[in-house]
């Protein structure tokens, strides 16, 4: 059976969405919406966004949503979940918010095994502010703060791999990519199930940002495939 064009839990009033053409957020959110529809949890789900482009999802869903500040989407999700343990709390952020300014909160939430689901869209730079270098920026990658290409000698930051050793044994950590909707849905479903079992979960979605990458469709796909060579998709902790 073919799926409808948009999930039922999407707020139709917010369309057309605020994301740039070709942005990976729209695809990620759409697939998240399908999972929420499938699990029939839209009325008991709370969606907490960060800032950065993720905040543009503040009215994407017809679901309780709250926006937080840069890096704090995990913290506000922790408070929500502690107050309303029966709800499904999804914390939605980008790589700048999650792996840079808010990494401390991801570490804290992961170590304490907070029963929240983090969905982190990784497009390898700070997109909303104009495409500056992030901890996820690839060596040599050209960004607005590294116009000649990043001189960073260190490898880009691997979030799920970093969190894996400090997580509770029941935590679920995975990386998927925005061009693989079946896997996105599968992992998000597992992540939400893991939250229902009382454990922490994080799904990183490797994504594209043609606007800040300054790439046309073909070069976007090329760079994306190149990134996938480093950012390996799959389950990093938990059941396959």
């Amino acid at each position: 059976m073919s799926q409808p064009r948009l999930p039922k839990c999407v707020n139709k009033m917010s369309k057309p969405s605020n994301f740039c053409p070709g942005c990976g957020h729209s695809l990620t959110l759409k697939n998240l919406g399908f999972v929420i529809d499938d699990l029939r949890i839209s009325s008991s789900t709370i969606f907490a966004t960060d800032i950065g482009c993720s905040l543009l999802a503040w009215d994407y869903f017809d679901i309780d949503t709250v926006q937080s500040h840069h890096g704090r989407a995990a913290s506000i999700a922790v408070g929500l979940k502690r107050a309303l343990p029966k709800t499904t709390v999804i914390s939605y952020m980008g790589d700048g918010g999650g792996y840079s300014i808010g990494l401390n909160h991801l570490v804290g939430a992961a170590r304490r095994n907070e029963a929240i689901t983090v969905i982190l869209v990784n497009n390898t730079l700070y997109a909303m502010t104009g495409g500056q270098m992030a901890p996820t920026t690839y060596k040599g990658e050209s960004t607005s703060s590294t116009p000649e290409g990043s001189f960073a000698k260190e490898d880009p930051f691997l979030g799920p791999e970093f969190l894996a050793p400090i997580c509770h044994k029941e935590a679920f950590l995975a990386r998927t990519s925005v061009d693989n909707p079946i896997q996105i849905k599968k992992y998000i479903k597992k992540a939400i199930q893991n939250q229902k079992n009382g454990n922490f979960s994080l799904v990183e979605v490797l994504s594209y940002c043609p606007t800040n990458w300054k790439t046309d469709a073909k070069r976007t796909i090329n760079f994306f495939d190149y990134l996938k060579g480093f950012y390996k998709t799959g389950v990093i902790k938990g059941e396959q």
Partner: protein, 297 residues
């Protein structure tokens, strides 16, 4: 009560916000540089009108780790955000008030959906004394903001256009103005005939009142004006309290943070002499204040 040891102040602050959104009374406490970090969450509370309570135990700054005492965090509490500072700041002057105003803080935060600070200090945080706990707490119920059973909430704190945020601010400022009239609170002690009115707040006001009482006993017309809400600040009552005064004295354990509020409130009164007893980050005893007032008689 659930206690959660978080990794830092932003986590504590946003955790408090999350819990408040979920309909649970929640709060946090910090001081100094931690207070700066907490402001991140406070402006979110301000912007999205989420109840928020924080206790601040002011300590000596700009140092970190000078854990004893100060009144230097007044400006951060009042205006430490990147917005218009739409919050309520309460200044308890003794342990009893610390208890009573903490109850009030929860009531105000959940009544008006605003951030409320209980701006204590190292003395109030650490001292031991007698407190009457018999007063029944009358506090507004905490209803959930999200999952409220009525409608889906999409809360944001980001606007694309300056006109858009200006509209929101205009509405919020107007609302705050009417809230301010309801919550403004100050103690005016023997000011009616006072030739000298002393301005002080918090612990320092307790010491000041003691000094004022002593000097009154000798027949001198001295009074005390003490704001209990440091924000909103009762400027009208402050002005009224100096109607017959020739001099005022401002006493604080900071270098003019409170003094600037007072002089702003009294702006326009030109025939009054202003004296200051500023001791940044240091306690001020009743004896010192008494000495200072006596010199002004």
């Amino acid at each position: 009560m659930i206690f959660l040891q978080t990794e830092d102040e932003p986590a504590a602050g946003f955790g408090v916000l999350g819990a408040a959104l979920g309909g649970k009374k929640s709060w946090t406490a910090t001081a100094a540089a931690g207070h700066l970090l907490l402001q991140d969450a406070v402006v979110a509370a301000e912007a999205m009108r989420i109840p928020f309570v924080a206790y601040i135990g002011q300590r000596g700054g700009p140092s970190t780790g000078t854990v004893i005492y100060s009144q230097q965090e007044l400006s951060i509490a009042r205006d430490g955000g990147n917005g218009e500072g739409l919050r309520i700041v309460l200044g308890p002057s003794n342990l009893q008030e610390l208890y009573d105003l903490t109850i009030l803080a929860f009531d105000l935060a959940w009544r008006y959906h605003l951030p409320v600070f209980i701006l204590g200090d190292g003395y109030l945080s650490k001292m031991t004394g007698e407190v009457d706990l018999s007063a029944k707490a009358r506090v507004v119920k905490a209803d959930p903001i999200v999952q409220n059973g009525k409608r889906v909430m999409n809360l944001r704190n980001c606007y694309s256009l300056e006109e858009e945020i200006a509209r929101v601010l205009h509405r919020e400022l107007k609302d705050y103005g009417s809230i301010a009239k309801e919550v403004e609170k100050s103690e005016v002690y023997k000011c009616t005939d006072a030739k000298i009115v002393v301005f002080a707040w918090g612990s320092v006001a307790s010491a000041t009142k003691e000094a004022v009482k002593k000097i009154r006993k000798d027949g001198h017309a001295v009074g005390l004006f003490r704001p209990i809400t440091l924000k909103p600040f009762g400027a009208t009552r402050a002005k009224q309290s100096v109607r017959n005064a020739k001099k005022i004295l401002i006493v604080e354990s900071a270098f003019g943070k409170f003094g600037r509020l007072v002089t702003e409130a009294l702006f326009g009164i030109s025939d009054i002499e202003v004296e200051r007893l500023y001791k940044p980050a240091e306690g001020i005893t009743p004896e010192e204040i008494e000495d200072k007032i006596r010199k002004m008689l």
